[in-house]
């Protein structure tokens, strides 16, 4: 299963943008949970 170079580069770019999007959304979710913990858990 060897991709040609052009599609490999496109796959890498897709992976990077997907990774960034997922990390941003999860970062927001975790930040909210962290906020809840820091305010109410003393």
């Amino acid at each position: 299963m060897t991709d040609p170079p052009a599609s490999r580069a496109a796959a890498r770019a897709r992976f990077r943008s997907t990774l960034v999007r997922v990390l941003v959304v999860q970062g927001v979710a975790l930040a909210l949970l962290g906020l809840l913990q820091s305010i109410y858990s003393g």
């Binding site: 060897t2 990774l19 997922v22 979710a29 809840l36 305010i39 109410y40």
Partner: protein, 562 residues
Amino acid sequence: MHPFNWAIVVAYLAWVVIDGIRKSKGTDTISGYFAADKSLAWWVVGLSVMATQLSAVTMIGTTGQGATDGLRFVQLYFGLPLAMVILGVTLVPLLHGSGAFTAYEYLERRFDAKTRSLTAFLFLLSRGMSCGTIIAAPGVVFSAIFGIPLAWSVALIGIPTIVYTMIGGVQAVAWADVKQMVLIVVALLAIVVVLAFQMPVSPHDALQIAGSTGRLRTFDFSFTVNETYTFWSGLIGGTFLMLSYFGTDQSQVQRYLTARSVDEARSSLLMSAYWKIPLQALVLLVGVGVFVYYQFVRPPLLFNPAHEEVVEAEAGSAYAALQRSYGEAFSLRESAALRVAEIDGTSGPARASAMADFLAREAELQEIRGEALALAEDVTGESSRDVNYIIPRFVLSELPIGLAGLFIAGVIAAAMSSIAAELNSLATTSVIDFYRRWVKPEATDAHYLAVSKGATALWGAFACVVATYAATLGSLIEVVNRFGSFFYGSILGVFLLAMVPGSRGTGAFMGLFAGMGAVAAVTFGAPSVSFLWHNVIGAVVVLGVGIALRGVGAPPAGAENG
């Protein structure tokens, strides 16, 4: 339960079965039956993936865990988004593009027949037994709550699931999962709304009370391999666990093999990457909300009604004394909780003093609960752990008529969606990896279809029998589950090795045994190491052995080296 609630449950079950049978159109070939002719949209597959993972245990056990232990359990899922992204660029294109019906079928093309058969056999062994436990968990709770024999509650969940899975194949399973996922989320939101309206204190005060008991403490950054619920165990161990589950377990792989294209398969997994942690946090928050609610409304001393009945009958005076102490302790704790809620701000000496008093009252109450649980254990001779009964008892006593039925239907839906995926994948693996591979390689689609339906029915019957005798089979199930944890990471290692150029079947097969051996050694040699790390160890050992044995043995016919 009120007849109207039962009517909702029965109407839901009938709808799922009838619609499942309707969806059987177009499944007269094995490609239709096992892979829906790769015709499903990403959102159908994505909801099916989520519904499969969300079982009845999540609805009743995880919410109960939220009530007793708070939010920290969510850390288990911190590796999931990363695992989904990794799978999207590694195993998903490999498996979807291969045209295989099972993940293990791909391994024969890449390595050899023995590696395929061993991994498929290990899957059948562990999933066959776990399917029974998935039915048993809600079955036991329903049996106690509704006062019906266990066999009836197993049949209530198991029989409709077997019918639509057997007749409609993967397409019926996926579409039923969509309905079930919607029902599950609606049921959870219904509890949130009811809690919001019935809570005697404001949301801010409720959070103050929950926070003072540590139930809003999500993050634990300590690095120890002995703890399961820490940030690092969740992020590293959790990533490997989710890679194993979503990447190599046929019950999940079969979901995304039905997607129209590799891109749609990827998108279906990304739905979990985005939504799993928020959904899991919601499930736990429901439990936390119920905990706060029970600060102001007296909860039962024993949540398991079957145990309560036996204890009242056989140790009536001791139980009545405990009930009296419990009533007094509850009143004191309720006053202490109100004082915590009334103090403005989140710090200061007055608040610290109110919190200390509340925690002392809470400890007193829990001590009495502990005595009642010990009494129940003595009288019944069974484990009296009642975490799984907290939410069902809350739902049936506090939710309005209709919503209670909706929630019970939601729990059944959660059980059915997981069981259906298991039965479907067990039948697929039995037929594709064993029957078609070793017994009858050349036959018509009609023949394989008939065998597949028979296999689904047989696995369903087996799961129901295991569920009915779960209590008697307890130690056997535990052995199988423990054995399952030996090879989960190791199978992931085999699939990762498939992407290493030059790796061969001999390395994969030997690596699989070495990986399982290493995990067994850690399990027995260092039992305190959390199971999350077993997957990491298994996968790394298989990769190491497989890479060391690169070039040893014959390459597969038409070898793929990348």
